[in-house]
């Protein structure tokens, strides 16, 4: 047990170190001086370069440019580990931390809502599909959702955007609030907020439902073959009690532990969905930073994503045995 925790912590540290080092290597492999290039581009576009000196100063301090490579490497690590990500080039006096902190709540909210909806719907559809004998609407739904899940989120987002926002005009085409609306704690604000979040949430959860439905169907089929189900049936319990208390209760545990397995891929997909709907999360920040070559913001977002995903997976891995006592140490797949 202790060994496993130690092992897992080692993988976590390796991951973070590797990500930081790869980032450092990429900056140093790039033939041109990124800062000079960016300042030049900003100047030619007529953007303000008043902050230029501060940026160059920061860059020099972060990478200790006049020092040997190894010193540069360690001063870079020290800077990042103390949470100093530098300045944004396009919103100059703001630091990357400011920009990120403003965007993170939006992204986390979108992610949690979409995953929760997909989890509930997917598990119900999958479980009912396995539970009902013979032909069932839920079996058909499982196949349909599974097929939809083969299409990446961003393509679903484009299709939903066109059909529901442009053709039918049921939902707004982007953003987080109506332009000029008051942002107070009233019902109207809340409805406006939900109205704007609906399409991004729908694109992600629609793409996810299939995975949950399919794996739930597998788990539930196994549960159905257990002796305690036969015993419950002999006892003459109602179908509903058997489904919720005997079936779902046992089948849902492995599903909970599977929640974080594909977090990395999920977040990659969400970045694009946010960009398509211009939703003010980390993804849109990244998309705009890429358009304006805002290098420190790009780097900040990437490091932030790597750190949060590895941290989340670490927590889930360590929590496995606590959630499901049947798992003692190793993941089932290994």
């Amino acid at each position: 047990m202790f060994r496993r925790i130690l092992n897992r912590l080692l993988v976590f540290c390796l991951t973070v170190w590797l990500a930081l080092t790869v980032n450092f290597a990429i900056v140093h492999l790039t033939p041109a001086d990124p800062i000079a290039g960016i300042l030049g581009r900003m100047g030619s576009r007529g953007q303000s370069v008043e902050g230029g000196n501060a940026i160059v100063e920061f860059y020099r301090a972060t990478f200790a440019l006049d020092q040997p490579l190894i010193v540069q490497y360690f001063s870079y690590l020290r800077n990042l580990l103390s949470g100093n990500l530098g300045y944004s080039l396009s919103y100059f006096p703001q630091t990357v931390n400011d920009v990120l902190l403003r965007a993170i709540p939006w992204s986390v909210g979108l992610l949690v809502t979409s995953v929760a909806i997909a989890f509930v719907v997917g598990n119900l559809v999958g479980a009912l599909g396995a539970w009902q004998k013979g032909r069932s609407i839920f079996k058909v739904l499982t196949y349909i959702f599974m097929t939809i899940s083969a299409v990446p989120f961003y393509l679903l987002a484009l299709i939903l955007l066109y059909v529901l926002a442009f053709r039918l005009a049921i939902f707004p085409t982007g953003g987080s609030f109506s332009i000029g609306s008051a942002r107070d704690f009233s019902l109207a604000t809340a409805l406006d907020f939900i109205h704007h979040a609906a399409l991004p949430v729908l694109s992600i959860s629609l793409g996810l439902v299939g995975f949950w439905a399919l794996s739930m169907r597998g788990v539930m089929t196994t549960v159905l073959g257990q002796d305690y189900i036969a015993y419950a049936r002999v006892k003459g319990l109602s179908e509903k009690t058997m489904f919720t208390r005997y079936g779902m209760r046992n089948a849902i545990l492995p599903q909970v532990t599977a929640l974080a397995i594909d977090l990395g891929q999920l977040i990659s997909g969400q970045v694009l969905v946010e960009a398509i709907f211009n939703y003010p999360g980390v993804g849109t920040v990244l998309f705009n930073a890429l358009r304006t070559s805002d290098y420190f913001v790009i780097q900040g977002v990437v490091l932030f994503i790597v750190l949060t995903v590895s941290l989340a997976m670490l927590i889930v891995d360590l929590a496995y045995p606590l959630i499901d006592p049947r798992i003692t140490g190793q993941r089932a797949e290994r």
């Binding site: 590797l18 083969a150 399919l214």
Partner: protein
Amino acid sequence: MIDKTAIGSVFTGLVFLLLAVSPVIFGPLFVEHAAAEMFSGIPNLPPSAEHPLGTQSEGRDMLAIMMSGIPATLSIGLIGGGAAMLVGSTLGLLAGYLGGAVDATIRTAADVMLTIPTLAVLILVGASFPSISILGMGLIIAATAWMGPSRVIRAQTLTLREREFIRIAKLSDRNWFQIVFFELVPNLIPILSALFVNAVATAMIATIGLEVLGLGPRNTYTLGNTIYTALYYTAMWRGMWWWWAPPVVVLVALFLALFFLSKGLDSIANPRIGGASLWRS
């Protein structure tokens, strides 16, 4: 015994694949490849007899763009998926067969790489190296996609290596290299082909994601690039459906094709679990 649904699945996949590449096959009957050049036609035309899919804001013919974009996207997927498969399954075979320190190293490396979100690494690379070729793009994608195949192949190898024929091969003095590549690999061909299709799909999702963010190859037209330019010139807001819809439709058909192919091949490889081994892990 191969069941009928597996064959049906493979067949459905092939139909979708044919649908996805049909612009490449039938396109040359209507327009020439050169029509994809800038200002070779009048910009912003809706579909007509002369331009079956209309033109976009730079005066390029959309059908001609599709004709060069589909092969470009497919080749990135094939290069990326192929390389990822080759590297991943070799590492999986070695980890599964040799065990011990080799296994521990490869598994730790795969665990570390699995934790890093692919798109994050690709974005950093794409943003730092502005000019990237199709081959370069494929190889970068491969570097981030080998872990899936390596895990599946490792698990399969673990069960195979305890079988009788491996013991006989050992007794007849074959070295480990011969055993791995001449005894194990032929038995893994069905699952390898399912994995290959899966790896191509993974590679394509990643590259198109990168292209939609504007980080794809600059001088080649790909399907992802086309979506990026359509978004950049706000095609959807201007009602130019013929600009963004063709790449989206082709991509949906392509992803469905890969899904059905991989599902069918997987259930041929693992008949007992009915094609769920790759989708349930």
